[in-house]
Amino acid sequence: MRVRWLSAVALVVLAFVVAACGGTPGQKKPAASTSESTAQNVKTDGFDSLGPVTLRVVSSETGEGPKKAIVEMTKAFEQKYPNVTVKVSYRAFDSWIKQVKLSLASKNPPDVVAGNQGYQVDGELVKAGLILPLTKYAKAYGWEQSFSPQSLQQFKWSPDGKTFGQGTLYGIAQSGQSTGVFANTAKLQKAGVDPAQLKSFDDFDAALAKIKATLPADEPVIMLGNKEQYEALHVWGMLQGAYTPAQEVRDWIFHRSGKTFDTPGNRQALAKFKEWNDKGYLGRGDDYNGRGEQDAATLFARGQGAFMLAGNWNAQTILDGLKDKAAFFDMPAGKSGKVAAIGSASVPIHIASKSKQPDLAAAYIDWIAGKPASPTLVNTTQVPAILDATAKPTQKFGQEVAGGWEKLIADGGLTFFHDWSSPTMLETIGQSFQELLAGKASVNDVVSRIQKDWSDYDSELKSGS
């Protein structure tokens, strides 16, 4: 018996010695590229002479409108350069952000990929040197002029991936994505609510009660799908915007020193959110936790609920269903008189460091996100992220969606996304909001859990590990 145990122990020890030979896991950051940051050595045209080349792209735009836009623009790009084949694979955003790091770290990664703002994805990609700095391309294509500083800020990092919101540019985005209020005007009319008269957050709050009284008991006033746990955050962002200036929120996300989640404004907003839930405005918890965002948008488009507080990327789905009854506006402002809500440029598009065709990749990115992209984006009810867009929406709903984005820009009201603030924040916020609404966690619990996540990561950033 003893011999057996001894040999088992010896075996485990041996195994660990063998494993240790595998050494410390991970790969060293590739040496910084020596390419000068001048625009002169960037090739922006004449790719016809390259001979047959294939550009591999991973897009996370699987929504109806956004995907259609990529398909069309890619086809046009291939027509412009017949020798270039662009292979786009479409991956659901939710699962792609879990694989992007592994994909880019592999031997033969795609040339152009979607990332995500914040420490969870982009921060890690920059830290590991897996994506290219785009400074020279920004000069060549004039991105610094086309995009607002607020937009580009979301894609700027220090090369060690620790300072977010300033430094080198690592990506650009296609569209402006803001959250706001989708309304079913038929239901508002029935309750005698005129959306034009909802001038403040309090007006909106009061309207909810009025509408609730005219709807069947089991129909939610605000359509919500919270299966993936991030959707409730988007709703809450509008409540937060009513009580807290957007700058405060952004500073917290960017880990500016001395910031905290524990503010009276955040507590008020959380309490209000719970109040909405308890008054039945959101419908039953097991219902909204059982369906996802796309399901909710489809249900809303079929006429369930009077409002849907969600991202403007749902616009096409809702327009297709509600037709002329669809309306969109920013959440009316709180006491500050300035609108504020979650919103940002859409997900960043990056070039892989290992790409063999970085110039061609940059040309493709400019094609789908820069000036050439405006008409297609507008046609698919999206708002181009660039300020000097070459096309404007002509139809009422499209104008409202674009107007919502523009007003948020004008008021400096884009708070960005809270989950950018740490790799684990999406999980922390998602779970604690679900528990708050279900009455399993108090406002106090939620505030302390979120702030703990933030400060844990804050000390990690500062410790230099």
Binding site: A19, N289, T424
Partner: protein, 326 residues
């Protein structure tokens, strides 16, 4: 991996050292060259098991050991990791969320292992010796869930449990509308609802195992029990249950392991929500490794989970599969 680990260790433990200890026991009197008794193990046997062992070492043992190695690092999955010692295990121990996930696993064991085994035993003993028309057909149907990919099962049940899915429609149709709910979105019902899916999947396996087991119990034992005046209940406890001990051990081991390592069903249907109500260790392994960039912690959870599966499987075989007459 969990299934193969115990048997592999068993191989090394029981088979390999035996000839050596035999030599050590009476080696003194043994002549240097001895005539091998028929059936005596020979060294050449290692050659026969070598291909399988090699395969096993490369694809099961090596990843297991490497996971153990990773669990001592603070590593984000890409950049160079730093040695963390036992920090990951300490975090695992201190984090109430991780501890709760293990509790959820044990709740799932009830649904995956105990419920199907109990139902399987009852049904098997009822139908084993009675002639049911089309028994083969029913057996095949009950076994069917075992053959379907879990992702398909998960999608089907998400639809069944949906707020306006068939289950709720059925409840409303019979006037029980007040019970209708979004089952997987409900804090109290999500975990049991997923557990019942597990029961459904495992039931067929248990039933088929038990039916086969009953067939090999000598019919004379049942006749003897009858002659002694035993009723069906008495007969069950005196003849069927002891006769099925081996099958019960197999069924419990398989189903418990499935319960502890279940991932795909939960990942597809709830992803651990609502809140953390259905978070189990395997989901945490995935989230930490691929979402949160904490590969070391994920590896630590995986190591603990593997150890737990090993211990539980070992315990079940020890308790259930011990023949008192031996």
């Amino acid at each position: 991996m969990g299934v193969t680990a115990p048997t592999g260790v068993e191989d090394r433990g029981s088979r390999a050292p035996r000839p050596r200890s035999a030599v050590a026991g009476d080696g003194r009197a043994e002549p240097r060259v001895r005539v091998r008794a028929p059936g005596e193990p020979r060294r050449v046997a290692y050659l026969y098991v070598a291909p399988a062992m090699l395969f096993y070492a490369v694809f099961a043992f090596a990843p297991l050991i490497y996971t153990g190695w990773l669990s001592f690092f603070d590593w984000d999955g890409i950049t160079v990791g730093t040695w963390a010692g036992l920090d990951n295990y300490r975090e695992l121990w201190d984090d109430p969320g991780i501890r709760t996930s293990f509790v959820h696993s044990f709740v799932l064991i009830i649904f995956y292992a105990f419920v199907p085994c109990f139902l399987g035993l009852v049904l098997a003993s009822l139908i084993a010796h009675s002639r049911v028309r089309g028994a083969t057909f029913f057996r095949a149907v009950l076994f069917l869930p075992q053959t379907i990919a879990t992702v398909v099962i998960a999608i089907a049940w998400v639809w069944i449990y949906a707020p306006d899915g068939p289950l709720n429609e059925a409840l409303r149709a019979v006037g029980l509308g007040s019970l209708a709910r979004g089952w997987l979105g409900d804090f109290d019902f999500a975990l049991p609802a997923l557990g019942l899916v597990g029961s459904w999947v495992m039931f067929g396996l248990c039933l088929v195992l038990f039916l086969a087991g009953i067939q090999k119990i000598p019919i004379s034992l049942y006749e003897a029990a009858r002659v002694d005046g035993a009723g069906r209940v008495r007969e069950f406890f005196a003849v069927t249950l002891p006769g099925l001990r081996g099958e019960l051990a197999v069924a419990l081991t398989l189903t418990t392991i499935m319960a502890l390592r279940t991932f795909d069903l939960i990942y597809v249907s709830t992803a651990g929500g609502p809140g953390t109500q259905t978070t189990v260790p395997s989901v945490l392994v995935y989230q930490n490794a691929f979402v949160n960039g904490k590969v070391g912690l994920a590896a630590a959870v995986a190591v603990v989970l593997t150890a737990l599966i090993f211990v539980v499987a070992f315990g079940i075989t020890r308790i259930v599969d011990r023949d008192p007459s031996r």
